[in-house]
Every structure is written in structure tokens, then in C-alpha cells.
């Protein structure tokens, strides 16, 4: 298994490298003069020339990339001309809230998704299953931003149970209870869709696992149904569920863009939306690169968990 993890770590190098290439090419995608687009209103000829030089845009593409990569590796993602600060500072300020929101949503969706998936599977065709199936159908068909607006309207404005937005109360806030209070609506909104997908997959994988020969063997040994379901079937289903949770992490990190916008969450998603609307391209680049890097590590983590769960993987 140690070899597997090592191999997986090594495999991350080309993937991270690829991410930087793609992110770098985003600038290259900009129609017209990127420097002008980046500088926007401040695009005086001197500024454009200076930025072109700073970004190395006057040099061949591979050289530009290497210069850029060198800067990125040193933590220099350039400077936001809108926010007047280094991109990395802004991104790091925004990273924690996003990870908090996405992480909570991921935990919520995984926990409930798997739990409901198991219930649906072991009560297949029962009323529980039907109820869950309907809920899942609505869940995967609801635009999360719409759900968010409805939740705010009812639970924050009408009932005033939860705050409208933000991450913490301005006064007397910041403690755990306060953050949970602020986190509740956005995290639930974000978790709803991801959780629904997971319910389906868990149900399918549980049903499949329950049909396997080894489950029959376990029953033939006289083991209790609890042991058959949770030790024999669920463990095997989990091997297939864990990578899905990894995928969900990406889903949740991306979906945070909507949720942060709707709930005034001070994370990277909201930053990206305003950066796009002000065409703060370097900020977009930095934000996307950092989040993608986090995601790569999350995937590494799920791979390791999967490897721990399934001894076959480490040896393949």
C-alpha cells in the first residue's frame, strides 16, 4: 500500500503540471490583447506595455509559461489590478471559508447520502425507498441556486431562524455555534444536490453488493443480517462509494460558486464571480488554480481511503 500511495503521489505531479498548463492557457484564450483585458479601465499604453512585459506576453508561449510557472511556484500569482493586492493574498483569505462550506456540505451529503442510500437499499420497494427515491429525483433536478433563494426567503426572511447570509455574526460571533448557525442554510443547500446523487449511487451499490456471492456465503454461515449488511455488503459498496465522494468534492467546490453568491459567503466562489464580472483574470487564474490543487489533494485522499478499504487496489 505504501508503494501505491507513493505511486499515486508521483502521478499527481503530471496532473498538477497539466492543471497549471490549462490555467495558464486561460489567459491565452482571451480574445484580443490579454493585457488590455486584464487592466481594463487602467489600460493606458504604458500600463499595457508594462504588464505585457511583466507577464512575458511579448515572448513565445512556452517561455511565457515557464516564467509564469516559476512565479506561481514562488507563490506569486500576479497582482489584482482591481483589488490592488497580490492575488495570492486575496485567494488565501477566501480559501478557508470555501473549504469550510464545501467541507461541511461534503460531510453532510456523504453522511446523509450514504445513510439514506442504505435505507433505500435494504427497504427496496418499501415506502421508505419510494419516499427517498422521490426526494432524490427532486434533489438532482433542482437548481441549487434556486433552492438557496427559496430557503433564504422562508427560513431567513420569513421565519428568521437563520441569518440571511455571511459567515459569522459581526458582533459576539465567530464561535462555533455562531458559525454553524450561519453555515446551516448554505451547507444544506449545497449538500442537497450532492447528497441526492450519493443516495442513488449508494442504493445501487448496496443492492449490487447484496446480490454478490459472498453475501450468500455470509448468510450461509448463519451471520446476522446486521453483519451481512454492514460488514459484508456495505464495506464492498463503500469501495465504490468513496471515489464518488471524491467526485462529489469537486461538485461541491464548483457548486459553492452559486451558493456563496446567494448566501454572501466570503469564499472563493463569490470572489471568482466578481472577478469574472470585473475581468480580473489573474484573480480568476489564481483562484481556480488553488481550488483545483485542493481538489487534487482531496482526490488523493479518497484514493488512499479506497486503498485502505480495498486491499486489492494497492497490489494492482
Amino acid at each position: 500500500m505504501r508503494n501505491y500511495i507513493l505511486r499515486r503521489l508521483l502521478l499527481m505531479v503530471p496532473v498538477l503540471f497539466g492543471i497549471t498548463v490549462i490555467v495558464f492557457l486561460v489567459i491565452w484564450l482571451i480574445p484580443g490583447d490579454p493585457a488590455k483585458a486584464i487592466l481594463g479601465t487602467f489600460a493606458t499604453p504604458e500600463n499595457v506595455a508594462k504588464l505585457n512585459h511583466d507577464l512575458g506576453l511579448d515572448r513565445p508561449l512556452p517561455v511565457q509559461y515557464l516564467i509564469w510557472l516559476g512565479n506561481v511556484l514562488r507563490g506569486d500569482f500576479g497582482r489584482s489590478y482591481i483589488l490592488h493586492r497580490p492575488v495570492i493574498d486575496e485567494v488565501l483569505d477566501r480559501l478557508f471559508p470555501t473549504l469550510l462550506l464545501a467541507g461541511t456540505a461534503l460531510i453532510l451529503s456523504s453522511a446523509f447520502g450514504v445513510l439514506l442510500g442504505i435505507i433505500a437499499a435494504i427497504r427496496q420497494n418499501g415506502w421508505q425507498d419510494k419516499l427517498i427515491t422521490i426526494a432524490v429525483l427532486i434533489g438532482i433536478s433542482t437548481p441549487s441556486f434556486w433552492l438557496g433563494i427559496l430557503l433564504i426567503f422562508w427560513f431567513a426572511v420569513r421565519l428568521a431562524w437563520f441569518p440571511v447570509g455571511g459567515m459569522q455574526a459581526l458582533f459576539g460571533g465567530g464561535d462555533l455555534v455562531d458559525v454553524i448557525h450561519h453555515l446551516a442554510l448554505p451547507a444544506i443547500t449545497l449538500a442537497a444536490v450532492a447528497g441526492a446523487v450519493l443516495v442513488r449511487l449508494t442504493r445501487g451499490n448496496m443492492l449490487e453488493a447484496l446480490r454478490q456471492d459472498y453475501v450468500r456465503t455470509a448468510r450461509a454461515k448463519g451471520l446476522s443480517e446486521g453483519r451481512v449488511i454492514y460488514v459484508h455488503a456495505f464495506r464492498n459498496a463503500l469501495v465504490n462509494i468513496v471515489p464518488i465522494i471524491g467526485l462529489e468534492a469537486g461538485f461541491v467546490l464548483g457548486g459553492a460558486v452559486y451558493i456563496e453568491t446567494v448566501f454572501q459567503w466570503p469564499g472563493i466562489g463569490r470572489m471568482l464571480v466578481s472577478a469574472i464580472s470585473t475581468r480580473d483574470i489573474l484573480l480568476v487564474q489564481g483562484g481556480v488554480l488553488i481550488v483545483a490543487t485542493c481538489y487534487v489533494f482531496i482526490n488523493l485522499l479518497t484514493d488512499i481511503v479506497q486503498c485502505i478499504l480495498d486491499p486489492r487496489i494497492g497490489q494492482a
Binding site: 488590455k36 483585458a37 481594463g40 479601465t41 487602467f42 489600460a43 500600463n47 482591481i82 483589488l83 490592488h84 493586492r85 486575496e90 483569505d93 477566501r94 471559508p97 453522511a111 446523509f112 445513510l115 442504505i118 435505507i119 435494504i122 433563494i149 433564504i152 431567513a156 426572511v157 431562524w161 437563520f162 441569518p163 440571511v164 447570509g165 455571511g166 459567515m167 459569522q168 455574526a169 459581526l170 458582533f171 459576539g172 460571533g173 455555534v177 455562531d178 454553524i180 448557525h181 446551516a184 443480517e225 446486521g226 449488511i229 454492514y230 453568491t261 446567494v262 448566501f263 454572501q264 459567503w265 466570503p266 469564499g267 463569490r270 470572489m271 466578481s274 464580472s277 470585473t278 475581468r279
Partner: protein
């Protein structure tokens, strides 16, 4: 049979309800001496010389002061950091006496050297701190030739040419750049934009990206101390969220209430106070007079007749604006010509003019619309409504929408070959400023390529004439010509608005589109 599962379910349910119960119980109360403001955007910079948006200036005007400032509720000038000033007869030399004993928030002294440093930083490309820019509004300081500091309390500004709007410019929010602490600039260098440092009643303390921006009372302020201990600006970009926060008590004050929500707040005076204040603002359509069809005055007038400005002001903007009559907003009370009436809504006349101009079957035009932008109100909504009105008389506009900066980038170099019309708005502190930039034949950003010698002459006279009564006469003439020649379609003048909790007292909107919060208190 499946006990572990049910146990897990029950545990989860209990945990959830505990959290929910806690959550509902916690209701954070804003302290009485702190005002929470729902702000329309993230703050971009703490450097008044770099700021470009009114939303930034609304915050910065509480941190920085200029040599002079506007009087309450008017655009007339009164002493600020300078206690008195004289203007030389040729209008080219301004001498300011500075207030004694004023200290910057960082403790360093405010004096003539600091003023010189501040102005030189912006206008002198070779100044050691010029790289702390870029300074987008440097052109406003263009008339300044040099600054002298003969003694610590005297500053002399030499102009290249006589420039009548000089004082109003210094009084405006941009004028705050003369009250910047040189020590802070030297200390933070390029990062000054993230730290700031002025002489104003409030000092910047906390900036949490996306969450809040906090100003605290400047305990060493030279003037009357603010009543509030702190101001908290919460960036709430989403209109809906801004309204919801206001309704649920998440904010004490919200400036720029979406028009559709105005009625809600007005309807509940026990809970909310609603404010309105016209300012020097004009929302108009810039016409490309260089190319067909708007090279023909009749077509330009036809467009003015075709658009139902009352409906826009009353229906779309819900009374937060009034129909505009000409190029000079009524907020410039002294320069505005009250005899001008808005072009009436008269589609028949528009059609007739169009036919006379040789377009009996209508004409196709390209219409630039922006997504948002400083003072643009609801640009997309307005754009679509205008498109519909124009279509009704035969001007078939094809809308192209761009993000604000791109939009400006497309328009400013001229619209030839790209578009026939574009929506724009301006807010300025002097009736000269905007027309001089956009209607003078020799101006680089006269994007509509409007050419009228008479207008050029009047504008030159207006900016050099220091007698206000004579200036007013000049601008009235100017208005009559431009009204008739219609290089623009005059749409509306905006009344800025705000809503606060009923417990917020002492708040007034200012016509200069800044927000002065040092006299505000909460009950």
C-alpha cells in the same frame, strides 16, 4: 433488525435539532455605537487617488478630507483642511491656508509638505511614489502645473490655465487625495491601497475580504468627534440579499435600495426610515453622430421623442429617478436651465422625423448595453425597455451587452464601425466636467464624435469664467443648443436613495454621492 442504522439516524436527528435550537437562540445584537452598512460592492482600494467607484468613495469620504469640502446638502464649497484660500485675479494661482495642529491617523503631522507630496505623487511621473498608482483620474488634476509649500501652513497651487471647477474638484471625493499621509505611503508603498491613512473622522482598522470592512472613530480627530464608535461596511453584492439583510436587521443602513423594494420600506415607517437625495447625475444614450443614422439631427430627436422617460422613471425605476431634460442635471441648481422640459413621449412625431430623415421604413442600429456600472441604475432593464420603445417607432436596436470595463474600453476610443448608440451615465461635481470630456470636438474621449463650434466656445468660456452668475448664463446657452442638437438621448436624473432602521438618526444623503457618517447615531 437494522439497529445500528436506526441508532445512527436518531443520533443525527438529535444533533441536528440541537444545532437548530442553538442557532435560533443566538441572535447577534449590533451594539448601539456601531453602524452596520449594507454596501453594494467589495471595497477595492483605500487610496483615494486610485479609487474609481462611488461605492469606494462612499467609504473613503469618511477617512480622507480634502483642502475644501462641500457644505451640507449642497455642492457649495466650505473650508476643509484649509481654513481659507485666495484665487489670483488671472485664476491661475490658488493659495490655501492650512488648518493648524491637524495630525494624520498615524500620528504624523498634516502640513503643506504633505499636501505637496500628495499632489506630486499623482501628477509627477518622476515622483518616487508615483508607482503606487495607476491613478485613473489623474486627468482631473491636469490643469495643475506645480505645487509650492512656502511655509508649513501655506500651499500654493499653480495652474496651467484658468480652471473654474478647481475648487469643486478639490472638494469632491477625489479631493481626498490631498489628505493622504505621506508616512503611510512611504511605509506601505504599493500596499498603501490596502492600508490607507488620512486625517478624517474615521480610521480604517479591519478588512476581511468578502465579509466586512471596519472603520473606527479617530479619537484624535481635529473636528467634532463622531458619535459612533465604529462603522462596519458589509459587502452585499446581491441586491436581494442586501434587502433581506436590511429587513432582518442584519444591517442598519443600506444605500441604493433596488427600486422595486423601495415601496416595501416606505410602507413601514415605524421600522425603517427612507431617504432620497437628487444629485448631479444624468443617464443618457450616447449617439454615434459620425455615422448614419444618427448623423442626422432629426433621427437623434426622433430617438428622444420615441422613449417614454416617465414610464422609465416611474415604472422601472419606481420613482428613484426623474425624467431628464438636458445635459445639465437640475442638482446643479445654479447652472441648470429650469425652462427646458424633457422631450415629450411622442412616437408619432418620432416616426414623422424619421421619415423626414429618409427612414420611412425604420432603421437598424447597434446598441451597447452594460451589465452594471457606476451610476448605471438598472442598465440591462433600461436597455431592454429602450429597445422596445425604439422598436415601436422603427429604430430596431440590436443589443450587445458587455461587462463595464470592457464596455468602456469599447466606447471610449470611439464607436465608429462598432455601434450607433450606447447607454452611459455620469456623476460630476461641476457642470463643466462631463460635457468638456465628451462633447468638445478636441476631447480624446468624445466618443460620439459630436462637433459643434458654438458648444466648444461656450465650454471654454465656462471653465475659465470665475464669476458664477456669468458662468450660469454660459451653461444655460450651452444647454439650449445641446437640447436641440440632441447628441444624446436624455433619459433620467437619478435620485440616490437609502434606507435605515428607524433608530438611526442624523443620517443624510449628500448630493455629491458621498456618504458622511460622522454625525450619525443610533437610538
Amino acid at each position: 433488525m437494522y439497529k445500528p442504522l436506526w441508532r445512527a439516524c436518531r443520533a443525527a436527528a438529535i444533533a441536528l435539532s440541537v444545532v437548530a435550537a442553538f442557532g435560533i437562540a443566538v441572535k447577534a445584537q449590533t451594539p448601539k455605537d456601531v453602524l452596520v452598512v449594507g454596501h453594494v460592492a467589495e471595497l477595492q482600494t483605500l487610496d483615494p487617488a486610485q479609487a474609481v467607484t462611488i461605492s469606494d468613495f462612499r467609504i473613503l469620504s469618511n477617512i480622507y478630507e480634502g483642502l475644501v469640502r462641500y457644505k451640507d446638502a449642497s455642492l457649495d464649497v466650505e473650508p476643509g483642511l484649509a481654513t481659507s484660500w485666495t484665487v489670483s485675479p488671472d485664476g491661475k494661482t490658488y493659495t490655501f491656508k492650512l488648518r493648524e495642529g491637524v495630525k494624520f491617523q498615524d500620528g504624523s503631522p498634516f502640513n503643506s509638505a504633505s499636501v505637496k507630496f500628495d499632489i506630486d505623487r499623482v501628477i509627477d511621473k518622476n515622483h518616487p511614489y508615483n508607482h503606487t498608482g495607476p491613478f485613473p483620474f489623474v486627468f482631473l488634476l491636469g490643469p495643475i502645473a506645480s505645487v509650492d509649500a512656502p511655509d508649513p501652513s501655506t500651499v500654493i497651487i499653480h495652474l496651467k490655465n484658468p480652471y473654474a471647477p478647481m475648487l469643486t474638484m478639490l472638494a469632491s471625493a477625489i479631493g481626498g487625495l490631498t489628505g493622504v499621509s505621506p508616512d503611510a505611503v512611504k511605509k506601505y508603498d504599493k500596499e498603501f491601497a490596502r492600508h490607507g491613512g488620512g486625517t478624517g473622522p474615521f480610521t480604517f482598522t479591519i478588512w476581511e475580504a468578502g465579509q466586512r470592512f471596519v472603520l473606527e472613530r479617530n479619537e484624535n480627530y481635529w473636528g467634532p468627534k463622531p458619535k459612533l464608535k465604529a462603522l462596519v461596511f458589509r459587502p452585499i453584492i446581491d441586491e436581494n440579499a442586501r434587502v433581506s439583510e436590511m429587513q432582518t436587521g442584519g444591517t442598519d443602513l443600506t444605500i441604493e435600495v433596488p427600486p422595486d423594494n423601495v415601496a416595501t420600506f416606505k410602507a413601514d415607517p415605524g421600522k425603517f426610515t427612507y431617504y432620497e437625495q437628487p444629485g448631479p447625475h444624468l443617464w443618457y444614450l450616447l449617439l454615434n453622430t459620425e455615422e448614419k443614422p444618427f448623423d442626422d439631427k432629426r433621427v437623434r430627436q426622433a430617438a428622444n421623442y420615441a422613449i417614454n422617460k416617465e414610464a422609465m422613471a416611474d415604472q422601472i425605476l419606481k420613482g428613484t429617478a426623474t425624467p431628464a431634460a438636458g445635459p445639465t442635471p437640475p442638482a446643479f441648481t445654479w447652472a441648470h436651465d429650469p425652462n427646458l422640459k424633457p422631450y415629450p413621449y411622442d412616437p408619432a412625431k418620432a416616426k414623422q422625423l424619421l421619415a423626414e430623415a429618409g427612414y420611412p421604413n425604420g432603421v437598424d442600429v447597434t446598441f451597447y448595453v452594460t451589465e452594471s456600472g457606476s451610476g448605471m441604475l438598472s442598465p440591462q432593464l433600461m436597455g431592454t425597455a429602450i429597445q422596445a420603445d425604439l422598436a415601436a417607432v422603427g429604430i430596431r436596436a440590436k443589443i450587445e451587452t458587455y461587462e463595464w470595463n470592457t464596455f468602456l474600453g469599447k466606447i471610449l476610443p470611439g464607436m465608429k464601425g462598432k455601434a450607433n448608440m450606447a447607454e452611459l451615465s455620469f456623476m460630476s461635481q461641476d457642470p463643466d466636467m462631463h460635457p468638456s470630456l465628451t462633447l468638445r470636438t478636441d476631447s480624446a474621449i468624445n466618443s460620439g464624435r459630436y462637433k459643434n463650434k458654438e458648444v466648444d466656445k461656450l465650454l471654454t468660456e465656462g471653465r475659465t469664467e470665475s464669476d458664477t452668475v456669468k458662468r450660469a448664463e454660459i451653461y444655460k446657452k450651452f444647454q439650449d443648443i445641446v437640447y436641440d442638437d440632441a447628441p444624446w438621448v436624455f433619459i433620467v436624473n437619478w435620485k440616490q436613495n437609502a434606507v435605515s432602521g428607524a433608530n438611526v438618526k442624523g443620517f443624510r444623503l449628500h448630493p455629491s454621492f458621498t456618504t458622511r457618517l460622522w454625525e450619525v447615531w443610533k437610538e
